[in-house]
Symmetry: C2
Subunit: 455 residues, 2 copies
């Protein structure tokens, strides 16, 4: 198979660039048509690779690309999940090349979605093509590729509930996470959950002159800042009552195990040009961004933000505030606590509206499962060393949903790197990583087919 | 003269609308051409009204319109100051009619600049025309109308210093303030100063995924909010060390005198739809917005502010922060204190840049001066009652500059109302107020010519 992959490397890359040229931004409705084009592109490629039942399933939002290949109902089945939608690309001016005009430079593919998740999804499509061409598909496979992951997979749960039989599988594999380094392969064993809100603070009913009214009326920006500031104490603990009640506390052994993963604080600070790190007292940087819950303002706006100076007290100020959750916290519980608390800390001089966006649940994957073991062995085959199990700070809310609705475990076998700048300007994906993925996935299938039922 | 003003009312209004159609926004360089058109418009109208030496004086920024009429060097001279530039009009969507397509509705002129300050400046042009037409100019007059007041009159001081002789006068009159009500005439006897800054907080060197990095790196929005929140204590006192050191404390008598000015807290709250007022403990609303210094955020921005949800930790967050100053505080001193303090409260995990914008000094006009007395008598003639002396919370920084450079006092005889929504959407100016101004100004000239030298 390796030979086939090498021979077709250039074509695989060209096809990915074609997919990356489609600006399928799900957060912005003006890209709706491009979102549809990206879905149709994947449907065609799956069909061309030899999949059956390749089709687009309508949802209340963007369609879900489905395809499968059932070679023998007696054999185990792998369900591949990915997403073809991407994050908004702004701020555009910070990109060295346009986000939707992909370029390969220094062996890296630069484009919005290069890694998250078009690049990693397309590895599976090309790995499938390879297995088909080499008559080497060792089990059944199903594909479910959605177009709303970056806006909270709002319609996926409905689709999954309505298609339990169609989606029946023995393992779900997702490549939407990263590895520690190209020479330190790893498999993600945990994900944080998410609770996302938009808040609006209203003071006076119109923008006011800050000279004539300043000091006498509540300035919604000042108030919003005070409210946000109060959400963390001096130790950077989150002050929302009950927020930590259900937080999973790791044992000293588990924390010691985590601490063994290779990590250089200096390299981390240099890579991000940080004068210093910043976070919850009593926890390491690796712990802060993986096993601890967080609260971050993702956006804030209000008043005059143009050129020059305008002496105004705005009528309204806004912020987007999200919390990352850890095992045993639920987004429903935390969203309720946040809303109640945020409304309770508003002074009498303003009106506050809290609008919940999507949420997602945290998950942990046991390293003893057949899925994890198959991924670990496949990576050991291709990287020449055992991968490290790693808790990621990111969220893939649907993993918990798959477990509860389909009763199927998920293995998170990702090939990206933290430095790929996903969700940022100049997102990229290594050609090495893309090819390693295509090479590793068929081996995962083989190991899983052998291990399944034995573990 | 009253007859002449009545006969020409419609033409006066049409000419003002013509001026209001020119979007002379000084804060935004894309309006540069319109700014020039507004200046030329006023120059022509002054010349047409009979002024001599009507010309535009070049500055490093927008030109200054100058004109004069010297009927007898032995007579006193009035210097009229006004400005033809306007505030930015955004948010456009909140205007009931386009800001630069003026309409007269319910006896009010709606447009950006209708009151501040095109409407009030144009009263002086038409009052001058009236006195000339009626051979009733009782003294000499000079006009100085600038185009950068809304961006801090950055080039006016240089012009004034270089033209001391040309601008020599016995009193400066400015109509860029308001009255308490149409049936409660008032003259402004005090103004607050201004210290305006833009701050930039930088965390990581690029936008980051809030899942992979959240909790481990400083989020510049959260940090900026914490820094801004710390600028006020629980009593809404400003916490900048030394901020209050030079603040003029009024005597109980002065505060009691102020408290006699007609004011309804309920009406105030209803007009602004405020659940409650908000401000410094121990002071009334009227005191908070006039004799007390303030700190307001005029704008804030950072991160993702578009549609939907983006889970990002931005690299940078920004705010525009201004302080209103009271007598004995200087903008230079306060700007230095603010910059030093704001930099000192930044945590080690971020970089902070404080960029000072323009400043201005507070002033108080003695009610005993000939200028104040002339304004008071003129208003009593036209309104039928003595005007109330009022401290305004606004800033006209150049008043202090005129005093120090030209050694000339200023009288602030304004005809606007607080409800005119200057600097806000749907700014307007009453036709009643516009006409009353044209009627009152010639009487001010007469009283001043008589009182001058006597007081």
């Amino acid at each position: 198979m390796k030979a086939y992959i090498e021979e077709n490397k250039d074509r695989f890359l060209q096809e990915l660039l074609e997919l990356l040229r489609i600006p399928s931004v799900s957060a912005d409705l003006s890209f709706k048509g491009d979102v549809m084009r990206a879905a149709e592109f994947l449907r065609e490629k799956l069909e061309a690779a030899g999949a059956d039942n390749a089709q687009l399933f309508k949802t209340a939002g963007n369609p879900i690309v489905y395809a499968d290949k059932i070679i023998d109902p007696a054999l185990p089945t792998v369900l591949v999940y990915g997403h073809y939608d991407v994050q908004p690309a702004d701020p555009y001016e910070l990109w060295n090349s346009p986000p939707f005009e992909p370029v390969i430079k220094d062996e890296k593919i630069y484009a919005r979605g290069a890694c998250d998740d078009k690049g990693q999804t397309y590895m599976h499509v090309k790995a499938f093509e390879t297995m088909m061409q080499q008559q080497a598909l060792p089990c059944n496979v199903k594909f479910m590729i959605e177009g709303e992951e970056e806006v909270g997979s709002v319609n996926l749960a409905t689709f999954v509930k309505e298609n339990k039989e169609r989606l029946k599988a023995d393992i779900i594999v997702i490549s939407d996470t990263g590895m520690l380094a190209n020479d330190v392969p790893s498999v993600t064993t945990g994900l944080r959950g998410l609770s996302y809100h938009e808040v609006e603070v209203t003071g006076p009913n119109r923008d006011l002159h800050s000279g004539l009214y300043g000091g006498a009326v509540a300035n919604p920006i000042n108030i919003l800042c005070k409210m946000i500031a109060s959400l963390h104490d001096e130790n950077n603990h989150i002050t929302i009552p009950g927020f930590y009640d259900n937080v999973e506390e790791l044992s000293q052994e588990e924390r010691a195990e985590m601490a063994r993963a290779p990590f250089s604080l200096d390299a981390y600070k240099i890579a991000l040009d940080l004068p210093d790190v910043h976070g919850e007292a009593g926890y390491s940087t690796m712990e802060r961004n993986s096993i601890r819950p967080t609260l971050d303002v993702n956006g804030i706006w209000g008043g005059y933000t143009g050129e020059g100076a305008k002496t105004v007290i705005p009528s309204k100020a806004f912020a987007k505030i999200s919390m990352r959750l850890v095992p045993h916290q639920t987004s429903e519980e935390i969203s309720a606590l946040f809303q109640k608390h945020f409304e309770s800390i508003a002074p009498a001089s303003v009106k506050v509206v809290v609008k919940p966006h999507h949420g997602g649940e945290p998950v942990v994957t046991p390293t003893t499962s057949a899925g994890y073991q198959a991924a670990a062995r496949a990576m050991e085959d291709t990287f020449g060393k055992k991968p490290v199990p790693v808790r990621s700070g990111g969220s893939i809310p649907i993993v918990a949903m798959f477990k509860s609705v389909l009763e199927t475990d998920t293995v998170l076998m990702g090939f990206g790197l933290d430095s790929d700048a996903i969700h940022s300007p100049n997102e990229h994906f290594g050609v090495f990583n893309f090819m390693k993925g295509i090479e590793t996935i068929p081996l995962f299938y083989q190991h899983f087919a052998q291990l399944h039922g034995k573990s």
